[in-house]
C-alpha cells in the first residue's frame, strides 16, 4: 500500500480532530496541551510527521522565531485531512470518549 495514501491511525485522527477544532494552525506543544493527556509530548511530532507524509497535514515554518534556535513549525489540517476526518466520523471510528 502506498504510504502516502494510508489511513490515519487512531492517535493520528485525534491529532487531526484537534487541528480541525482549532481552525488556525497549531504548534506541537499546543496540540499536546489541547489533547489533555491523550497525546504525549514525546510522540506528538512522530504523529505529525506521519500525517504530513500521508498528506493530511501541512506544515508552515516561520521565517523568524522569537526564541533562539530553529523556529517552531505550525501545523494545519488540509482538505484531505478534513475529508479523512469526516469519513472517520461517519464510520464511527472515533471512540465514545474521543469526541468529548
Amino acid at each position: 500500500m502506498d504510504k502516502g495514501k494510508s489511513w490515519p491511525s487512531g492517535k493520528e485522527l485525534e491529532v487531526l480532530r484537534l487541528l480541525e477544532s482549532a481552525g488556525a494552525g497549531m504548534y506541537g506543544l499546543e496540540l499536546v496541551e489541547k489533547s489533555k493527556g491523550a497525546i504525549g509530548r514525546e510522540s506528538i511530532y512522530k504523529y505529525l510527521w506521519r500525517l504530513e507524509e500521508k498528506g493530511y497535514v501541512t506544515k508552515k515554518i516561520p521565517a523568524t522565531a522569537d526564541h533562539p534556535g530553529m523556529p517552531r513549525p505550525i501545523y494545519r489540517i488540509n482538505g484531505l485531512g478534513q475529508m479523512a476526518l469526516a469519513a472517520a466520523e461517519n464510520m464511527g471510528i472515533f471512540g465514545a470518549g474521543a469526541r468529548s
Binding site: 509530548r41 514525546e42 526564541h67 530553529m70 523556529p71 517552531r72
Partner: protein
C-alpha cells in the same frame, strides 16, 4: 675678517640675500598646543608659531612638538550597544541522535523537541523564572529520549545478570 674695533666685519655685507622688508620681522605669536587624542593616552605638547614675514603669513617650520604622557589611567570602558545574543540550548544527546536517526527523522522529530525546549526556556526567562527555564531543558531531555534507548542499558544489565547467574 676682524676689524680694529674687535667686531667681525664682512666685506660682502651687501651681498646678503635679503632686503629691508625682511627686517620687519616681528616676534611670532606663539600658541601653546596640546593635542590629546580621545582614544589614546599620549598627548603631544608643543608650540606652534605663526610667522609674519613681509606681509606673508607662514606657519611652516616653526612648530615643535614634545610627546608627553598626559595620563596613565586605565583605558576607558567601551560600551557597545550590541544586542545580547542568546545561545540556543541543545539537547545533550543530540550527537548520538544525529548518528542513529535518519536525517529526515532527526529534522522532523528531534529538532522540533529542541525548538520547543528553546521556546519554553525563553518564555520562562522572559518572566525571570530561572528554575522554570532549567526545568524546561530537563523536561525536553526526558521527552526527546526514545524509550527504546532506555531499554538498551536494561537489556545490557539483563545480559550481565544472566551471565552471572549462569542462566
Amino acid at each position: 675678517m676682524i676689524g680694529g674695533d674687535g667686531w667681525d666685519h664682512f666685506d660682502d655685507e651687501g651681498d646678503y640675500n635679503y632686503d629691508d622688508a625682511m627686517l620687519d620681522l616681528r616676534l611670532p605669536p606663539q600658541v601653546s598646543v596640546v593635542l590629546t587624542p580621545e582614544t589614546g593616552h599620549l598627548g603631544i605638547v608643543g608650540q606652534a608659531a605663526i610667522v609674519e614675514v613681509g606681509g606673508a603669513i607662514s606657519t611652516s617650520g616653526t612648530s615643535f612638538a614634545t610627546p608627553k604622557i598626559v595620563e596613565l589611567l586605565e583605558p576607558p570602558e567601551e560600551s557597545f550597544d550590541l544586542p545580547a545574543v542568546e545561545e540556543p540550548a541543545d539537547l545533550l544527546w543530540t550527537p548520538i541522535a544525529r548518528m542513529i536517526m535518519s536525517p529526515t527523522r532527526f529534522r522532523e522529530e528531534w529538532s522540533r523537541h529542541i525548538s520547543d525546549m528553546n521556546y519554553e526556556r525563553r518564555e520562562h526567562l522572559k518572566r525571570g523564572n530561572l528554575f522554570g527555564a532549567h526545568l524546561a531543558v530537563i523536561r525536553a531531555h526526558f521527552y526527546s529520549l526514545p524509550v527504546a534507548w532506555l531499554l538498551i542499558p536494561v537489556r545490557f544489565m539483563l545480559h550481565l545478570l544472566r551471565h552471572w547467574l549462569g542462566i
